[in-house]
């Protein structure tokens, strides 16, 4: 898919995120907007997947695990825009009875969601289990997992990192949303000291870095990661430099929009900066 087309999808996804979270009155727009370009590239260009034949087990397809479950808004928008469920359902986010729970659930038969998430730090382990199963079954597809940089303060992330290297999971590709922000402030002011890329390297992973808002660079980074995995039989982490809240000037680059819903007025101001490309839900 051409870069401009991916960018158009991303613009619509950001509109969806702002509208969904604003309508719900709560939710997490900041990280959703920093990962929009990455997930757009992943679902519309990189992954081998088919919404019509998708199952949780994921045999014969690439799989994706959202470790940072609070990025539900971008996840739901991407899944619906990719054809997993009707876009009209996006308006039900966080409402009683909705399949679009505040954090992803597998108990509501929402197509595209492979595992529940929300309690942080667990997705690398789950993705490693999926990747190991693919290896045991001779399925050549990849498993992708998205974590936050703040989330990487969780110890289990590093248990999963070690496990994936030990079991030579070259089919596991990690994605870090390296936006430098978490709820209580900038990551380095909260806890996450040290060089995140060196940490992954120390745990035996290949690493790739790229600008997480440059569509061409994103697609190239995924290609590089797949190659590295095949060549080294080791997992690969792509660290994408991103801005929290990217796409709307007053939301970008600050932790303040990590978990805050735009008011109706703010929503309108935000939408004025985001082109409607595929039609609002």
């Amino acid at each position: 898919m051409a870069t401009e087309k991916l960018e158009k999808i991303a613009s619509q996804v950001r509109r969806d995120i702002v509208r969904m979270v604003s309508a719900a009155g709560s939710g997490h727009p900041g990280g959703s907007m920093s990962t929009t370009d990455i997930l757009t590239a992943l679902y519309f260009e990189v992954m081998d997947h088919n919404p019509a034949t998708w199952t949780r087990a994921g045999k014969g397809q690439d799989q994706f695990i959202l470790s940072a479950g609070h990025l539900a808004p971008v996840y739901y928008s991407i899944l619906s825009r990719a054809g997993y469920f009707p876009v009209s359902e996006l308006g039900t986010l966080r409402k009683l009875g909705s399949r679009l729970q505040g954090h992803p659930s597998v108990r509501r038969n929402l197509p595209g969601v492979t595992q529940a998430s929300g309690s942080l730090g667990q997705g690398v382990s789950v993705a490693a289990g999926l990747a190991l199963a693919k290896k045991l079954d001779g399925d050549k597809h990849c498993v992708y997992v998205l974590c936050g940089d703040g989330e990487s303060e969780e110890g289990q992330i590093w248990e999963g990192a070690e496990f994936a290297t030990h079991h030579s999971l070259g089919n596991l590709i990690g994605i870090t949303d390296w936006n430098g922000q978490q709820i209580d402030g900038p990551v380095e002011s909260v806890s996450g000291g040290g060089d995140l890329q060196l940490k992954w390297q120390a745990f035996g992973w290949n690493t790739v870095t790229a600008d997480g808002h440059d569509m061409e660079a994103i697609v190239t980074a995924f290609g590089k990661a797949k190659e590295l995995g095949k060549k080294t039989h080791r997992p690969t982490m792509i660290l994408f430099k991103t801005d929290m809240g990217h796409g709307v000037d007053f939301m970008a680059g600050t932790h303040k929009w990590h978990g805050k819903a735009p008011s109706a007025q703010q929503c309108e101001a935000a939408l004025a900066q985001l082109e409607e490309t595929l039609g609002d839900y």
Partner: protein
């Protein structure tokens, strides 16, 4: 009363090892994970026969739970094995999100449960695990009574659709149940019929209750012994019918009072058939160092204490 013969002491964890091997032979989806406790969990035979399906996780239990969930989503039937404390309390949030809420077909093989773990002391002797696992929606909780029943319970867990908490122990204990009797998750086994009192029990306490029943029979007291090997889902029919018959209920278990078999049975009786319940358990206490037999006597969890307590109830 029905005679039970101890065919030779064996540890229930070896029953798990044998059951796992058989389950692995019967179903190639079965995989086994451990956090550096292959030998303690008796997974050696499985690992030797199915090296690719044995997954060493190192001392990282939280990751083991997540990896097992991933394997289960992909269609495998994973058994995760460690000491009871380290596959329950240590990883409660992981079990809650990845296994229970995530609805994955993971089997939790929980060894060295209770104070009969012995000399290692309280850090390793969990007496709270049944309570924790019972509280998770959809989690089956199983605590078989001897080697033979643990073999069968492991086979049943492998076939069961959904998460199972399978609890067993470290020490060698009498082996007395029929090795061929298939285990049914959700069934309570009436081991001995009696009209004067019922002892509901599970795990290591079942043999002790049978010995107590034998001693009391000699004094003319008929004790019904019910092996409640599945704590959840509870076989309410069997529990209610025995309680109705004898009207005197004692619940004996190697667990803390809070949330164990005793409170499970008491809550059903309170709601459906109010009956006084006498509790025999570890109380609201931690364990300590000692031999299994010394500790069971100290905490009042043996045949002698059951005899004494039943007499006081009559």
């Amino acid at each position: 009363m029905k005679k039970y013969i101890d065919t030779g002491k064996k540890d229930t964890r070896s029953g798990f090892g044998e059951g796992l091997l058989r389950a692995g032979r019967a179903d190639e989806r079965v995989v086994a994970l451990t956090a550096d406790l292959k030998g303690s969990l008796k997974m050696d035979a499985f690992a030797a026969e199915f090296p690719e399906r044995f997954i060493q996780c190192g001392i990282a239990e939280a990751n083991m739970v997540g990896a097992a969930a991933g394997l289960a989503i992909a269609g495998k039937v994973p058994f995760i094995g460690s000491f009871a404390e380290f596959v329950t309390g240590r990883v409660y949030d992981q079990l809650r999100q990845e296994v229970a809420y995530g609805n994955t077909n993971v089997k939790i093989a929980s060894s060295h449960a209770g104070i009969t773990l012995g000399e290692d002391g309280a850090t390793h002797q969990t007496m709270e695990d049944i309570a924790l696992m019972r509280a998770l929606p959809g989690m089956a909780v199983v605590n078989p009574c001897d080697y033979n029943q643990t073999v069968q319970a492991t086979l049943a867990a492998a076939k069961y659709e959904g998460p199972v908490y399978l609890r067993f122990g470290r020490p060698s204990v009498p082996n007395f149940t029929d090795p061929e009797e298939p285990f049914q998750i959700g069934k309570a086994y009436v081991m001995n019929e009696g009209k004067d009192a019922t002892v509901f029990c599970c795990g290591h306490l079942v043999w002790e209750a049978l010995k107590a029943a034998e001693a009391l029979e000699a004094e003319g007291v008929g004790v019904e012994v019910v092996n409640v090997a599945t704590i959840k889902p509870l076989d309410e029919e069997t529990v209610l019918s025995s309680a109705r018959k004898t009207g005197k209920v004692l619940v004996a278990e190697e667990h803390n009072r809070a949330g164990g078999l005793g409170e499970t049975i008491a809550s059903v009786l309170a709601e459906k058939q109010p009956t006084k319940v006498v509790f025999m358990n570890g109380g609201d206490r931690f364990g300590q160092t000692g031999t299994p037999a010394e500790l069971m006597a100290l905490y009042g969890l043996d045949a002698a204490h059951i005899v004494e307590t039943v007499k006081s109830m009559l």
